[in-house]
Every structure is written in structure tokens, then in C-alpha cells.
Symmetry: D2
Subunit: 223 residues, 4 copies
Amino acid sequence: MFYGKIFNLLRENHKDNWLLYTKHEFINKLSNDTLKEEKFLNYLIQDYLFLIQFSKAWSLAILKSDNLEEMKIAATTVNDLINFEMELHITLCANYGISKSDLENADEENENIAYTRYVLELGYSGDFLDLLSSLAPCVLGYGEIGLNCQNSNPRTIMYKKWVETYSSIEYQNVCKNVSGLIDQAFLLRLGTNFENTYKWKKVNQIFKKATLLEVDFWNMAIK
Amino acid sequence: MFYGKIFNLLRENHKDNWLLYTKHEFINKLSNDTLKEEKFLNYLIQDYLFLIQFSKAWSLAILKSDNLEEMKIAATTVNDLINFEMELHITLCANYGISKSDLENADEENENIAYTRYVLELGYSGDFLDLLSSLAPCVLGYGEIGLNCQNSNPRTIMYKKWVETYSSIEYQNVCKNVSGLIDQAFLLRLGTNFENTYKWKKVNQIFKKATLLEVDFWNMAIK
Amino acid sequence: MFYGKIFNLLRENHKDNWLLYTKHEFINKLSNDTLKEEKFLNYLIQDYLFLIQFSKAWSLAILKSDNLEEMKIAATTVNDLINFEMELHITLCANYGISKSDLENADEENENIAYTRYVLELGYSGDFLDLLSSLAPCVLGYGEIGLNCQNSNPRTIMYKKWVETYSSIEYQNVCKNVSGLIDQAFLLRLGTNFENTYKWKKVNQIFKKATLLEVDFWNMAIK
Amino acid sequence: MFYGKIFNLLRENHKDNWLLYTKHEFINKLSNDTLKEEKFLNYLIQDYLFLIQFSKAWSLAILKSDNLEEMKIAATTVNDLINFEMELHITLCANYGISKSDLENADEENENIAYTRYVLELGYSGDFLDLLSSLAPCVLGYGEIGLNCQNSNPRTIMYKKWVETYSSIEYQNVCKNVSGLIDQAFLLRLGTNFENTYKWKKVNQIFKKATLLEVDFWNMAIK
């Protein structure tokens, strides 16, 4: 049902926390049109700052790759994020009255810092599997959230667009590619008996922590 | 009055935030014996986890040094933290009924992650001045807090010891050495006209953010 | 005549070493058809291994960027290198009888390691200017070499193609973009009085060392 | 006979290259008094520059540690290197007429850069096992060389001292501690079946490459 063998295992192992994240009140309110627009606009600003750091974390995935195939997927992701997503985000914000300079001068909230720096620090100090396990909740969680609310059809245009983005075929394909990369990377490095390795314990802790930091990001967005 | 020219300038530039940190309710309660011991014990556990990451951040200072003198001060700090402070911390906690395994298995709270990973990520992505500016609020703030409450004399033994530690000559000397390192590092790299540089703007942002993350650490400790 | 104000200054400051690199015997032999093909094929293999590490170094440029504009140029370069240049290189080698698996299993020679790890380590430990100064000799040197021998017209097809690649408008445009990035990055961080800064001394040492490591790379290719 | 289970396995797997390193002509000449003193003095200067980078690589071992015990051994090594070995080295050089400023202003030779940057880059991009496998040839190879020539008794005072240093109980204990750290680190992360892991293949490549870069360091010293 969900993407990738490894992701499904991690998701199952941390199901309660995973649902705190993917079924968060912020999403409910967004999909049933009860979210205050001011909160959504603040979320968009924080999300812009998040994307800057997130692109940098994906750049570390290039550095931690062990072969050209891994490098290619990571480089494509980085390029998409920096040369396309960021522009889309800037345009979207402009439509809602938030200028590029508003975005650049905005102050990162602590919950934003917590998640992005956790992922980036892992990207520096950890290996490819550590890093992917911290990136997975964001990439694949947004895909699952997109599917969960694809029929919600909120009237508020900017909520509708947000739902469309993450439930789109394009975004679902990103999820397929990333979960495929994760499966191959784990298989290559840990083999088929991966659940008995030291690394498996470690990546479970990372996945759990990254999921909880996502929960806190939504808490920040709705507070 | 305080240590070091650069630190005093940064402190003055962000005085309001600085006082939110150094005059935090947690310190008041600790020094007038109204802090619940359970909160203090939780703080000690988080502080152990903090020290692990903080030692790693200081290790990055060795890597970002430009000469042997800088390397020596950073290496001495790392060695003191890992081979002495950590042991003291473990012994202290043991006295209060927290075992070493309690410490090692404790879960880092998000506010703890936010601060430590912010500093570590800067240590990786930034230069020596960026890193020192993020370390300064912790090292020198605790020294100032120690002096501020040196006459408070709380009856609770563990609060009394905490105050004694940070107001001690030994700890105040650490503050002198670190602020001296900061002054020399800035002078070497930016010259006497440092306040007109691009870097000065950047380190001010870092110092401010690190200070606010310290405030959040106290908020976590008292919540 | 050459690209960019900063590059021209660095080039002038280290002119003798620069000419050892750009006027190396390897280039002369290649352009007048006296280079043994076996040596060129070995060079192509080492160059493949070089490009892997060089792409990783450019990924660090994304991480060390201070704004979205810098990130975009660095990300575009990374994407071009990994998703296009590498493929071209593989195809080119295949035409000359070197399979993809030959490339992947080849052993990096020590001179190759020296240059790539010098640049990568600087990318990790240094800042954006340090990194760019170590990347410049490669990117811009090849552009200058391309122009120098654009009329040489060697008969050996693979030498002819090599000359065409680096003298092409496309490659010359890469040089323009990268030298523009360098000029802007220096101006932003060091201002107009950059020649009197500590950093300027440091980047000159880096530029010189990277140039000499390029000379050694040619020495390896011709030995 | 040699220290540590893992080191012995790596050493056996790459025996030919290992002997090229530990039985190098430089060592022979040093132990039978036929080495030109001028070459030894140049070696000492390059070794000083090497130790600076080597200390930084060991600092990365602190950052890549997974527990306090690993951090302690790494931090002790870093502190010994920076606060004691470097001073000894400076004093030794001063006795032989090389001033501290000679050391600091000396130019790193390319073979020196190749080895140190290879290790440092691995320290940044790799994990604890990768890094230890690149550090092992240096630490443990010098211990083996020390034992190999402990009875050689060269008349030249500085060669005699050099032999005494690396055959001393103190240095042999360093070798015991480091090989013990390596054994524990491998056991913790890879378990008892480590020889069948992906990582084992990788660390073998690293160990081999680091050994060959050591050979090249001797080649540089004697050329």
C-alpha cells in the first residue's frame, strides 16, 4: 500500500508516532477548511526556510552516496528542490501576498531549527542510511498525507492547491523514486538480513525522532 | 565586567534576549530553593545528553582552527569535557539516584536537539568564528549565571553544588580562556575594523539564535 | 581577457605555477598529436574517477552557500556534472573501448587522490570562498586550455573532440557563470577592500596549491 | 604477535603492500645509519605538518563515536597529539636547528597532502569504521616499525631517538589501546560475522589505499 519495503517496516515499527504526524490536527483543519489562513501563511514562510535546509540535507546525500546511481537520484532531487520547488514556493507565496524578501528575512522558529538541524547534522555525522532515514518521514509522509486528503476538496484555494500538490502523480512519483532509492541503499549495505544489524536499531531511532520532530513542526504551525 | 571584548559587544547587541536567558525563572527558582527537585533531575539528564553533543561541537573547533594555539585551547576543552566533566556529571547523577544507564537511555527532548544540532550543524557548515559565536552563550552564560547567584546559597544540596560549580574560580577561568580565544580568533581573521564586516552581521545572528535556543532549553527544564 | 576579476587576480599572483599547469607538456602533446593514445585513455579513466569526487565537492558548494542565488548556480553545476557530464564521459570511454565497469573498478592514482581529497576536505573544513578558490583552477583552467588550443586541430579524433569540448561555447559559458559566481561571492563576503583581508591571503595559498596539484595530475597522466 | 584481531586480518589481507610500507628503504637507511641527515630533517618538517592534519582526523573520530567509551579514547588521543606530541616534535626540531616558524611556514608536499586529505575526507564522509581503517596503518605501522628496528641502534643521535620513540613501551601501549578500540568498534557495529559484510569490503579498500599512501610518504621522504 505504501511505498517501499524499508519505509513500510519503519512506518509499522513507529505507527503511533507516525499517525500523530500524518493525522495531525493541522492537516484535518486544512482539509476541512477550518484552518485560519494566517496560520497557513506562517506555515508557508517556515516551509520556505525549511526547504532551504532540506535541499542542503539532500546535497549531503550526494556526498554520502557509494555509486553513480545513488548520486544521480540525489542530484536530481537537489536540482528539483532548488531550481524548481523553491521558485514555485516563491511564486505561490507572492500570490498570497508574501514577498521574496519577506521569506528571506523571516526568522526560523525553534521547531523548524530542531528538525532541519537534526537532519543536517545527521547528514554530516552519519552515513547514507542514517541520512535517508531522517529524510524519509518528510518526503514520504507528505505523500501519504496528500493521498489521505486527496478527496477532501477544501474550498479555500490555497488549501486546495496544497492538497493537489502532494496528491499529484508527480509528487507520488517522487515518493516512489525515493522509497526505491532507500530499498536499494539498505539492500546494498546491509543485505537481506538487515533487521538483525546494529544499523537497523540506529535507523529506527532516527526515523522515530524525525517523525516526532515533524509532529512538533505541525504543533508550531498551529499554535 | 564580563569576559572579552567580542563577547561583551555581542552581549550588549542582544541584551534583552541575553537577560531572558541568564535571568530565567529556572535560575531564580534554583537559587531561592523553590525549584521542584524532579525538574532539576530531569534537567541533569538532559544536560548529560547535551554535554555529549557539546563535546562533539568543541571537537569541530579543533578542525576549524587555523593554528596550533587555537587547536590547543580547543583540544584542552574537549579533553576536559569528555574525560572529566562527563565523569563528574555521571558521579553527580549517581549521587542523586540516576544511574549511568538511565543517562544513556534517556530520550533527548526536542528543545535539547534544537540547540545542540544548531551548534553542531554550524560547526560543520560554518567557520571557526561562526562556531565560537554559537558556543559562547553556553560557556560564558553559565559563567555569568554562576556569578549572579554566587551569594544565593540555596539549602538544597544539589542546587548549592550547581551554583558552586559555575561560580568557582576554575569555571571562571574557563570563561576567561574561552573569551580570550574568541577575541584572538576575531582579531586574527577580521582585524580591528571587524564591526563593518559581513561576518560580524552573521555572527550576531548566530549569537542571538543560540541565546534564544538556551532560553528554550530553560523553558523545557521548567515546563 | 580571462573570466572574472577575482580569478584574474589569483591567476596573476600565481602566474608561473599557472603556466606550468595550462601549458603542460600533456596539452602540447595532445594538441600536436604526439601523445600516446594509451596515456590518453588512462587519463580518461582517472578523469572519470576525478569527476565523481569533483561533483561531490560542488555539492559542498550548495551547503556552504549563503543565499538562494548561490545555491542555484551550485546545484545546476552539480546536476550538469552528475546527470550529463558523467554520462557523456561514460559514452566517450565506451567509444574508445573502456567499459563502464572498467571505469568503476579502476584504481585512483595517488595524484588523483591528492587533488580531489584536497578540494573535498577544504569543502568540508573551509567556507564558500575557500572551496571556490580550490575549484577555480580546474573549471577555469580547462576553459583557458580549451581556448589556447582551439586552433590546434589534432588529427586523432579523440584529441580533436577533447579540444572541441573545452573550447566550445557551452564550456566557455560555464566558465563565465562560475567566474561570475566567484566575483559575487567575494564581493558579498569581503567587500571591495578584499585584498587587505586575512581571507585573501588564505585563498591565494589555496589557489596556488590547487594549481600545483593540477600540474601533478598532468604529470601523472604523462608519466 | 601484532595488535588486535581486526588489524591483523587487514594486515594479512594486504601483506605485500604492508611490507612495502613497513620495510621501506627509508627505514632501512635510518636504522643502518646510511640515511642522509638532510633527508631526515625534511621528513621531520613534513611530519610536523602531517601531525597537524592527523590530529584533526582524530578529532573527527570523536564526532563519529557512538558512545562515551569511544569518545574518551579518541579525545585522549587528540589531546596527547596536540598538547604533548606537537610540543615534543617542536622541541626535537629545535634541537636539530629547525625553528617553530620554519615548521609553520613549510610547504606541504603533495604526497603529504594526498595521505592527510584522504584520511580527513574519509573522516568527514565516512563512518567510525572507515575512519579508523584509514588511521590504523599510520598508528600501528609505526609501532611495528619501531619493534622491527628496536635493536638496530643507529649511531646518529636523532635516528636513535626516533627508533626509541616508536619502540618505547609508551608508544606500544598507544598501539594496544588503538587496536583495542578498533576491535570493539567493529564488533559493536558489525557483529562476529563481520567478514561477510559490505562494510568489510570497503574498509579493506581503505586500509590498502592508506597503506599505499604511507609508502608514497616514505618515497617522498627519500627522493
